[in-house]
């Protein structure tokens, strides 16, 4: 199963990362799921695919009562993000899922009904978790055309979905990394091919540069800390994206 790692804790406010299942079959892309907890309330970020549900659920239960999961956030519509929806709904039919309005009628193909989805407008919105306000930051076309990241102003953490994702080779898959240049090699190919728009990329870089970010948590790969966040934004802004080569 995956490991639940508390990456931030301040009193009743917590971030738990669910990561690295040693038994994951290699035909499935590895993914990170995150749970933001504030007191008794929580929000599960990019709950993951059907196939990783057992591993996510069991890891999560070691840190948090899974019966209390009643809000999900899907950064976009991909199967590795939200195809486990039907399973979460099995446990709690009242679960709500925040997702871009663009996908609100597509994702029900994975499960749920009219009551399940809360559409996020293009400009983003805030979500209250316990007494903490979280911000949904527009990240359209990176890579999905209806795409959001989530910023927690208290923890100063940006959940960045597929942005910052790295496909790490075995043995180099620590949750945090030291050498930026070494790490970013594993992110380059992914960003060039998956990210679709130069303009959207620049918009995003501009937008997140204004946030105070201590940690940037992608859905795949390792977490960026401190100065690595700034270096990532800089690197990304200079990377040519949206082009198929060869």
């Amino acid at each position: 199963m995956k490991t639940a790692r508390v990456i931030y804790e301040d009193g009743k406010h917590k971030w738990i990362a669910l990561v690295r299942d040693p038994n994951r079959p290699d035909y499935l892309i590895d993914s990170n799921e995150y749970l933001v907890v504030d007191d008794d309330d929580s929000l599960l970020l990019d709950p993951g695919g059907n196939e990783v549900f057992p591993s996510v659920f069991s890891a999560l239960s070691t840190e948090f009562d899974p019966r209390k999961i009643n809000k999900l956030f899907a950064s976009h519509q991909d199967p590795d993000i939200i195809s486990s929806l039907a399973l979460w709904l099995e446990f709690n039919p009242q679960v709500k899922c925040y997702i871009s309005w663009l996908w609100a009628s597509f994702v029900p193909h994975f499960g749920g009904n009219k009551e399940t989805f809360i559409s996020i407008p293009d400009g983003g919105m805030d979500i209250m978790i316990g007494s903490q306000r979280l911000q949904l930051i527009p990240a359209h076309y990176l890579h999905s055309s209806g795409n959001f990241h989530l910023y927690d102003p208290k923890a100063k953490i940006l959940f960045s979905g597929d942005v910052g994702a790295a496909l790490l080779p075995q043995g180099e898959d620590d949750l945090f990394f030291g050498d930026f240049d070494r790490h970013i090699r594993h992110a380059e190919g992914f960003h060039r091919r998956w990210m679709g728009s130069e303009k959207a990329k620049h918009d995003w870089c501009q937008r997140v540069s204004q946030l105070d970010i201590q940690m940037m948590c992608p859905q795949h790969g390792a977490i960026y800390r401190g100065d690595q966040v700034r270096r990532f934004i800089d690197w990304f802004s200079h990377l040519e994206v949206g082009i198929v080569k060869g």
């Binding site: 659920f57 239960s61 099995e90 446990f91």
Partner: protein, 203 residues
């Protein structure tokens, strides 16, 4: 538990095969309808010389219409079973993931899954099983009813052959029509027999 997904997959494939067979019978039943109209027309032309045949051809037409009605009901029923089986396949898939979740979980997660699966199993699963069993019983009954109806058709076709002999100048063409009837009804009978066999195997 492990047997469930394969079981439902097999059930789904069986329903699909049954559906195909029923579609074949429906197409043939439509042909019978046209043949019966043709027979009525022929009997009218033969007039006095083929009175008996005329009566029979009206009967055959009524039979063809009954058969079509029966067929559309059968088809509706198999559509219904496809959606039930599909729901079951989906449930079975969820169950497989839940079972894996149970194996991986410890502590509160484990007991939560245990409890959840117990109630879920007895509710959802038993209900679907029950639905499928009921569908199968109704389908078998309907196939048996259809077979009986077709048996009547085959008697009509044989009588038409006898009447054709008294058709004077029209005898040859009336005989041709009756033989076509008999052959087509024979086709339907064979299809129904294989359907019955398949149903018996599934019960």
């Amino acid at each position: 538990m492990a047997a469930v997904p394969q079981d439902t997959g097999r059930e789904l494939r069986r329903i699909v095969r049954t559906n195909e067979e029923i579609k074949r019978v429906v197409a043939t039943a439509f042909k019978i309808n046209l043949m019966a109209m043709n027979a009525i027309f022929l009997a009218k032309r033969a007039g006095q010389t083929a009175l008996g045949f005329g009566v029979l051809s009206n009967e055959l037409r009524r039979f063809a219409m009954d058969l079509q009605k029966q067929m559309s009901q059968l088809r509706e029923m198999t559509y219904g079973s496809v959606s039930t089986i599909t729901a079951l396949v989906k449930q079975a898939r969820l169950n497989r993931v839940l079972e894996r979740t149970r194996k991986e979980s410890t502590g509160v997660g484990r007991s939560l899954i245990d409890e959840f699966m117990r109630t879920r199993h007895s509710l959802t699963f038993a209900r679907h099983r029950e639905q499928i069993a009921a569908l199968n019983r109704r389908l078998s009954q309907m196939i048996a009813d259809t077979a009986q109806l077709v048996e009547l058709g085959s008697v009509l076709a044989r009588s038409a052959k006898i009447e054709a002999a008294y058709g004077g100048a029209f005898s040859a063409s009336l005989m041709q029509v009756s033989c076509d009837f008999e052959r087509t009804i024979g086709d339907i009978q064979r299809s129904l027999e294989s359907l019955t066999k398949r149903q018996d195997a599934s019960l």
